[in-house]
Amino acid sequence: MTNARALTIVLFVIFVLVTLVITVWASRQTRDATDFYAGGRSFSGFQNGMAIGGDYMSAASFLGIAGIIALYGYDGFLYSIGFLVAWLVALLLVAELLRNSGKFTMADVLAFRMRQRPVRTAAAVSTITVSIFYLLAQMVGAGALVALLLGIHEGQTFAGMSAETAKVATIVLVGALMIIYVTVGGMKGTTYVQIVKAFLLMTGAIVMSLLVLGIYKFNLSTLLGDAAAASGKGEAFLEPGLRYGVDKPGDPTGTLISKIDLLSLGIALVLGTAGLPHILIRFYTVPSARAARKSVLWAIGIIGTFYLLTLALGFGAAALVGGESIRAQDAAGNTAAPQLAQALGLHFMGDLGGAVLLAVIAAVAFATILAVVAGLTLASSSSLAHDFYANVIKRGQATERQEVSVARIAAFVIGAISIVLAIFAQGLNVAFLVALAFAVAASGNLPAILYSLFWRRFNTSGAVWAIYGGLISAVVLVFFSPVVSGASNAMFPNHDWQWFPLSNPGIVSIPLGFLCGWLGTVLSREPADEEKYAELEVRALTGAGAH
């Protein structure tokens, strides 16, 4: 364990040094706003596809889904499918049209034919809210993970730090690195960090899956059978229902709520992805709509392969490590993948092998977190600078140089705020924030984007209503849901102001967001701007005049 810990730290330091060198190199290539916000639009479809994978596959995907499969079996797989199918929305309806008609942020498209200030303000509020929710979940998770991965338990010390101090130190370190990547390297630096991470993550997942399948002579059925037997739940482990949509005997209302919650989660996952600001801005990093399309195709290939591999990782961990030893380390199963790495190394190469593989996978997990938080920080600071500062405060009169300076300051401020919030939130269960970020993106951002691109009549009031309507309804419903209060595993388990029964608001808030966008449009007397719509539509579909 000590060997693995030292090696993890060495590998992690190497990753950090390599990414910092890349960041400094990228900063030398960053001259104007297009470089800072969009990496000079110079990435190829494949590079951007890798970066999308690196931006999207968070620790929640890698450690979380493998962990859910390891502990609850099939339901973890069910969860991952929503994350993949979601990319079809991005491919068919959003990526190319957004690339053609926008410049740096989501709001470029939303505000294209609207009054700039109200729409850009709403978009910035939504972008920053979604990004901060997501950031907090990642950073609090990073703090908890480092203690687990480095094996620092309560009461122990590591380099003179207690477990609590080590968690705070990790949050500060992660925060500081993401601020450096974004402020120094801009989109170019961030993109390369994400590409390197995606490469490491895919390599790690492929190697581990091959080792698992090797043990089972590539017979999936035997692996599943072993996993089911080891889980103690028998065949139910291979069927849906242990975690989501749980049947509660003698409690028909509870069963109904649990099943509706599952549907609600599924819808939010599928519709949320194409409304996540840190994903949307990635489409601006390529030179053309065609490259944007290719990058989504690559992303679908990479992300799909990865989720197929988590099947081997999760069931492999269930069979080879066992639910009990995983739960002993982390009740949520987040250490299943690293524990599996150790078990595989041990199986094939003895003690040293176990230590090496554990260290490699732990370092990959850190790299995963860093790449995602950097993407989120960049998305929120871009929106603050380009939407709120340049177009709302300065009414479009800011110079590029001013805008980029503000974006750098914004990245610093948002990073600092996230560090402080994450330190305060570290004792709380904030895992629900990822699902909430998807729900807000699906309820507010997606309706606004789709109406903007496809509905001639859509106007300023509709866009503002859609964004705030979806955002507020998702946040309010979650605030009064059992994930925040009134349940033993809630964020505030000792309080109870819960009245909304579902943990996932999507099934209510997404239709509400679309309804608000429609109502806001038809109730307003403002006519749609015909000429600007013609320009938006022609640009979106043909790429004429694209930046």
Binding site: Y74, F77, L78, I81, G82, L84, V85, W87, L88, V89, L91, L92, L93, E96, K103, F112, L220, S221, T222, L224, G225, A228, E235, L238, E239, P240, G241, Y244, G245, D247, K259, L262, L263, G266, I267, V270, A289, R290, R293, V296, L297, I300, G301, G304, Y307, L308, F454, E530, E531, A534, E535, E537, V538, R539, L541, T542, G543, A544, G545
Partner: protein, 113 residues
Amino acid sequence: MSTEAPPTSAANPYLATQRSPEFAGLRRALRRFVFPMTVAFFLWYALYVILSAYARGFMSLKLVGHINVALVFGLLQFVTTFLIAWLYERYATRRLEPVAERLKAQVENGDAQ
């Protein structure tokens, strides 16, 4: 929004293009593919989630060894996602891109009719 506005002869070139039959054809071709396909994959995915929630007996039917309907259904979601992505790429390359590029050249050269 600064665009390298082409030397417009009379009207707004975007408006002229938007009203042209060729652009209407492009719009129709795009929507004819993406809207039905979106509805189709969404319903297909919803069916999968609904069956996972409510048809547990069906989903737990064994096909081969420990491989059950639920697993195959889940894997089919991967297959359809890859398939739709491939179909769209083919459609976009063959049917959408050539028209889009022609129109783009027209707008940027300012010779929209």
